[in-house]
């Protein structure tokens, strides 16, 4: 069978590309600086980096500007760019215990090693849309800036030098529960190589490392939806969810120096980390103990890390009984789902024509049978 090529539309495609570019570049408002995107839309930048699986704040800002704020399109741009880059190395395994926190709360427990450090959070803030004028906001910004620079350094550090400075890497609740013998010990004695989802698509039954990587790169909304469905939805059993740790902080990335053989810190990335404590009540489970699920993702994205931690433990307890694992591995990637959806917009003239022809053929056959 020969290939029938059809051409056309090339000029229209080029014109559409030019139109997008021209209107983006020539809009009336002033040029959107990368720094503005990085600072003022920081959470969006974090989300895009997480879903792209690439920590590159400046590139993410550029991608968001080019995509005119379409987060999924920005993820697509970053992934496409990443696919052109060589991979130089694997980092030394970073220990999650070494995250230096900027925010740390333990919803499950009041008195914990280290402290409850709210950090930059709107969790307890009433959602009032600020409608003050821009002039007033600018005035306030000026005032805050001059206040900040007016306080001498030593005075500020004394303000909280009450002998109980918060720890930067406080002991995690999981450790405390272990000390109380309240948690199932699932620590492994071996050290298997992690599964690399960027090279091989993960299919169930998959190693837990594949599941964790898939969730850390998943679309935030998709993961939240999976979690909600698991809790309340058609395949859910209502289970007790208590969060142990919710942390946002920085972790060093180290690579081995090829000459000296020593680990060298090449970067520091911010991550959100969550422990979800699960109450065990299954007949085949140790009901005197809890189990813990784990979530960790690039940037500040608590919704995603919480969903991930809950789904990690849900998937472990599910043990392949439902389609949860398959659903997580195959349907939560932003680029996979959006890519498949958007391809529907491309011409399907040939396939649809053959569908029409089949309809006519069936009709013809039916008419023939009838007569």
């Amino acid at each position: 069978m020969g290939y029938v090529s059809a051409r056309g539309g090339l000029d229209a495609i080029r014109a559409a590309e030019r139109l997008v570019r021209r209107l983006r570049l020539t809009s009336e408002s002033s040029w959107l600086e990368e720094d503005q995107i990085l600072e003022k839309l920081r959470l969006l930048v974090d989300r895009v980096m997480g879903e792209a699986g690439l920590w590159a704040p400046r590139l993410a800002a550029k991608a968001l500007r080019q995509s005119e704020g379409d987060a999924t399109e920005a993820v697509h741009l970053l992934r496409a760019y990443r696919s052109t880059l060589p991979r130089f190395a694997y980092s030394e395994p970073a220990d999650a215990d070494d995250v230096s926190v900027e925010r740390r709360i333990v919803p499950a427990f009041q008195r914990v090693p280290g402290s409850q450090l709210l950090g930059r959070s709107v969790d307890y803030t009433a959602r009032f849309l600020e409608r003050q004028s821009d002039d007033l906001a600018r005035e306030e910004a000026e005032k805050l800036r001059s206040e900040a620079s007016g306080t001498p350094d030593d005075e500020r550090s004394e303000a909280h030098a009450d002998g109980d400075t918060p720890q930067r890497s406080p002991q995690r609740l999981l450790e405390m529960l272990r000390e109380m013998d309240l948690v199932v010990d699932r620590r492994r004695a071996d050290d298997p190589e992690p599964f690399d989802i960027t090279r091989t698509p993960a299919r169930p039954p998959a190693a837990r490392s594949a599941l964790l990587s898939s969730m850390t790169r998943a679309d935030t909304g998709a993961l939240v939806n999976q979690w909600y469905r698991n809790i309340l939805g058609p395949d859910g059993y209502l289970h007790e969810v208590t969060l142990g740790e919710v942390r946002h902080g920085a972790i060093d990335v180290e690579v081995r120096h090829p000459v000296t053989g020593l680990p060298v810190c090449v970067s520091s990335v911010r991550v959100t980390e969550v422990e979800a404590i699960e109450d065990l009540e299954g007949v085949d489970e140790d009901r005197t103990k809890f189990d813990v699920g784990y979530g960790l993702c690039f940037g500040h994205n608590e919704r995603k890390a919480i969903a991930m931690a809950n789904l990690d433990i849900a998937c472990h307890r599910d043990a392949g009984r439902t389609q949860l694992e398959q659903s997580l591995l195959l349907t939560t990637d932003a680029l996979d789902s959006a890519g498949f959806l958007e391809h529907l917009k491309l011409p399907h003239y040939v396939t649809f024509r053959s569908m029409i022809e089949r309809k006519f053929a069936m009709r013809k056959a039916r008419n023939r049978d009838a007569s």
Binding site: G50, L54, W55, A56, R58, R82, P86, R87, F88, A89, Y90, S91, P93, A94, D95, A96, D97, S100, E102, R103, Q110, S115, Q116, L117, L118, R120, S157, A159, H160, P166, R168, L174, R186, R187, R188, D191, P192, P194, D196, I197, T198, R208, S209, S213, T216, R217, I251, V253, V255, H257, V259, C265, V266, S267, V269, E275, V292, Y294, L296, F298
Partner: protein, 137 residues
């Protein structure tokens, strides 16, 4: 490697003012962007998984017999070249490079201080958000 890029470039340029250094320098791998896959060991099962990749610039040089290597955060070709150069110089022993070695030590010290000060500023900002519980008898 974590010095501010502009300070690295300054120091790299200073190194290049040495005639001897310039004549014995070979850039074996020009600065290029690539990624490093970040491995994390998580606490529940103590198993490793891949968190995602980070963007880095890598560069390698040779200064006489010394190999200099650098990998730095982001797309920073000039700073990566400077860092690789500094890495090679720091391992030399020749008398004439002594001032450069001192300058490199100085930049390392400055970087440590800069990172510590940055960290302190962050802590100062969030210190007040620490919860102090009052307990009722």
């Amino acid at each position: 490697m974590r010095s501010r890029p502009e300070r690295l470039v300054e120091l790299g340029e200073r190194c290049l003012t040495s005639e001897t250094l310039r004549s014995s320098l070979v850039v074996t791998q020009p600065p290029a962007c690539g990624t490093v896959m970040v491995q994390v060991r998580e606490p529940v099962r103590r198993e490793r998984f891949y968190l995602g990749e980070i963007l880095v610039t890598r560069c390698e040089v040779r200064l006489d017999a010394e190999r200099g290597w650098a990998m730095i955060d982001g797309d920073e070709p000039r700073a990566a070249l400077a860092a690789a150069l500094c890495d090679a110089v720091s391992r030399t022993t020749a008398e004439e490079y002594e001032p450069l070695r001192l300058a490199i030590d100085e930049l390392c010290r400055e970087t440590r201080e800069h990172l510590a000060a940055q960290e302190q500023r962050r802590w100062d900002q969030i210190a007040d958000t620490r919860v102090k519980f009052e307990e009722f008898e």
